[in-house]
């Protein structure tokens, strides 16, 4: 009898443990699926449920907050989801919260995500309709990707065409021409040399400028020497004065020219006789002839004088000095 009672005790424990495990399992599953405990309903409307199902999880800021109780088709473009939310979360969800349909992981089940929105708003009440936001689905992304691919194909076609045109063009031949390349290289070298020269020039210029600043050289003197500036000013004054005199002289010459012209016009004065009086010209010619004859006579007299014994010694001495000077000039040329 004792053994029987003991067996019964063991059996009782066995059954109890089994039942406790079963109840625990039901409780845990039920807790996850919001079967037990207090909860309340919220609603959200979507244009596309994206595979959302009854019983799908609802997350509030990433934390399990409830499940989808039902999905109802309101009209051809609107689906209303009734969400069963734990009472524990009720005090955190505000009316401006945004509801989106997301995915657990990359390819997991669909879930509803409630995201709090900034700003003050009253807390939700039983049966409130929350604002939903459409999230880009994989299908939409693929459609966009397809359009992008088409665009890329178009661009690559255009690029190909451009490359073909470039291959046919003179530019491409020019690029393949070695002579042109050498020419370009030579030009570049020259440009390089020019740049070196320009560099040296700029250095020189810089040096000149620095020297000029420090008062060296003519320009420096010009720019910095105050005494020179005074002299220059005085020279300029002199030049101005000379200019004024020249101007005055010009005026006098003009006056004289106009007087002469007046004399010529009025047939007065010496110039008028010189230019217009033919008799005066004849007398001048006769005078010139007489002077010429006189000069010839004088030359003959001088020649006769050379041969005179009184003056012959003097003329020989002149001849000797002349010969001596010629010899000295020749020796100097040879030395050079």
């Amino acid at each position: 009898m004792g053994n029987y009672a003991e067996n019964n005790m063991r059996l009782g424990i066995f059954v109890l443990v089994g039942l406790i495990v079963l109840i625990f399992a039901f409780y845990m599953v039920g807790k996850n699926k919001s079967i037990f405990g207090g909860n309340f309903e919220l609603k959200a409307r979507f244009s596309n449920s994206n595979g959302l199902m009854k019983g799908s999880n609802v997350l509030y800021s990433g934390i399990q907050a409830g499940t989808v109780k039902s999905l109802k088709l309101i009209n051809d473009t609107t689906i209303e989801a009734t969400l069963l939310i734990d009472n524990e979360v009720k005090s955190f969800i505000r009316k401006n919260a945004i509801v989106t349909i997301g995915t657990e992981g990359l390819m997991g089940n669909k879930v509803i995500q409630i995201t709090p929105f900034k700003g003050n708003s009253p807390l939700v009440k039983e049966g409130d309709l929350l604002e939903s936001k459409k999230v880009a689905s994989i299908d939409e992304m693929l459609q966009t990707l397809s359009r992008t691919n088409d665009n890329i194909a178009g661009i690559s076609d255009g690029l190909r065409q451009t490359v073909v045109e470039i291959n046919k063009s003179t530019l491409w031949k020019l690029l393949g021409d070695k002579a042109a390349a050498n020419g370009i290289e030579s030009t570049i070298n020259q440009m390089h040399q020019a740049s070196i020269n320009a560099n040296a020039f700029s250095k020189d210029l810089e040096m000149i400028l620095s020297e000029t600043k420090s008062g060296k050289g003519t320009a420096g003197l010009l720019l910095t020497d105050t005494a020179f500036a005074t002299q220059l000013r005085m020279a300029l004054v002199g030049i101005k004065s000379a200019g004024d005199h020249a101007n005055e002289l010009t005026l006098q010459l003009n006056q004289m020219a106009s007087d002469l012209k007046k004399d010529l016009d009025n047939s007065n004065g010496f110039l008028n006789f010189l230019v217009k009086d033919s008799l005066m010209i004849k007398k001048l010619n006769a005078t010139m002839d007489n002077i010429e004859k006189g000069t010839d006579g004088f030359n003959q007299n001088m020649e006769a004088l050379k041969h005179n014994f009184l003056f012959r010694g003097y003329f020989k001495k002149l001849e000797k000095e002349k010969e001596k000077r010629k010899t000295i000039d020749q020796s100097l040329r040879i030395d050079k």
Binding site: L11, G18, V21, L22, M28, I35, M53
Partner: protein
């Protein structure tokens, strides 16, 4: 002649199917009527349920451990190693736990019932009970069928729990996961649609093991040789029936939309 033999075999199969159905029907008609053999029922529950626990626990533990370690490389290939607890949880609770436990149970309990009742039959103890005014069907058959029907679900639940523990150890062999995180993930993946059909079908598994074991033992003959045949055929037939019931359960659950 061969065709005749085949037809004879078919006839025997159909005949046996009918006999088992009648036997099960008799259980509902006779076995459920008072007076109830509570004492014998408790004894049988103890022997069938409690005594089977170590074997079921051991197989459950190994089952969970092995399943986890073998699933792991496949999940790593797809980069979803983190889903291991959920996947193991669903497979253990939905299918592996109930079916493996039921098969172990059929092997141990089906054979023992078949052999026990068979030996009682061939030694005419059942006839003696009838003579002494005790209804052998009520005392021997009903108590055993009820015991198997009630004990197998409890054994399955415990086996599931132990298998999940084995799975937790399996996960921790290659990586580190906390106990609470593992079980949270397991229950995150589970749904009532997973748990309820799995528990309900184990009642049918237990009933099938009990009915077949009792039928084979109760109808054994050919002396001591018949005892062995009864034990053996009880195990074979109850194992086959477990798979058939499992198939039906899946189909019915599918029709009821419980597989989603």
């Amino acid at each position: 002649m061969k065709l005749w033999t085949l037809t004879e075999g078919n006839k025997e199969f159909i005949n046996e199917t009918g006999s088992i159905t009648k036997f099960a029907n008799r259980f509902f008609i006779v076995g459920m009527k008072p007076r109830y053999e509570f004492k014998e029922l408790l004894t049988q529950c103890y022997l069938i349920g409690y005594k089977s626990l170590p074997l079921v626990a051991l197989t459950g533990f190994i089952m969970g451990l092995v399943l986890t370690m073998q699933l792991r490389p496949s999940l790593i290939v797809y980069g979803v190693e983190s889903q291991l607890p959920e996947m193991v949880g669903i497979s253990i609770v939905r299918e592996v736990g109930p079916v493996i436990t039921a098969l172990i149970f059929a092997g141990k309990i089906g054979s023992s019932i078949g052999a026990e009742l068979g030996s009682m039959k061939v030694t005419e103890q059942i006839d003696a009970m009838e003579v002494s005014g005790i209804n052998p069907f009520k005392f021997l058959v009903a108590t055993r069928i009820i015991s198997t029907t009630l004990m197998l679900p409890i054994l399955t639940v415990l086996a599931d729990a132990i298998a999940l523990f084995g799975s937790y150890i399996g996960v921790n062999i290659n990586s580190v996961t906390s106990f609470s995180l593992f079980f949270t993930q397991v229950f995150q993946g589970l749904d009532l649609n997973d748990l309820l059909p799995a528990v309900i079908k184990t009642f049918f598994f237990g009933f099938a093991v009990g009915v077949v074991g009792c039928y084979k033992g109760f109808n054994s003959n050919k002396g001591t040789k018949g005892v062995g045949i009864a034990a053996n055929s009880a195990v074979v037939l109850s194992s086959v029936l477990i798979f058939i019931i499992d198939l039906l359960a899946v189909q019915i659950a599918d029709l009821m939309g419980l597989n989603y």
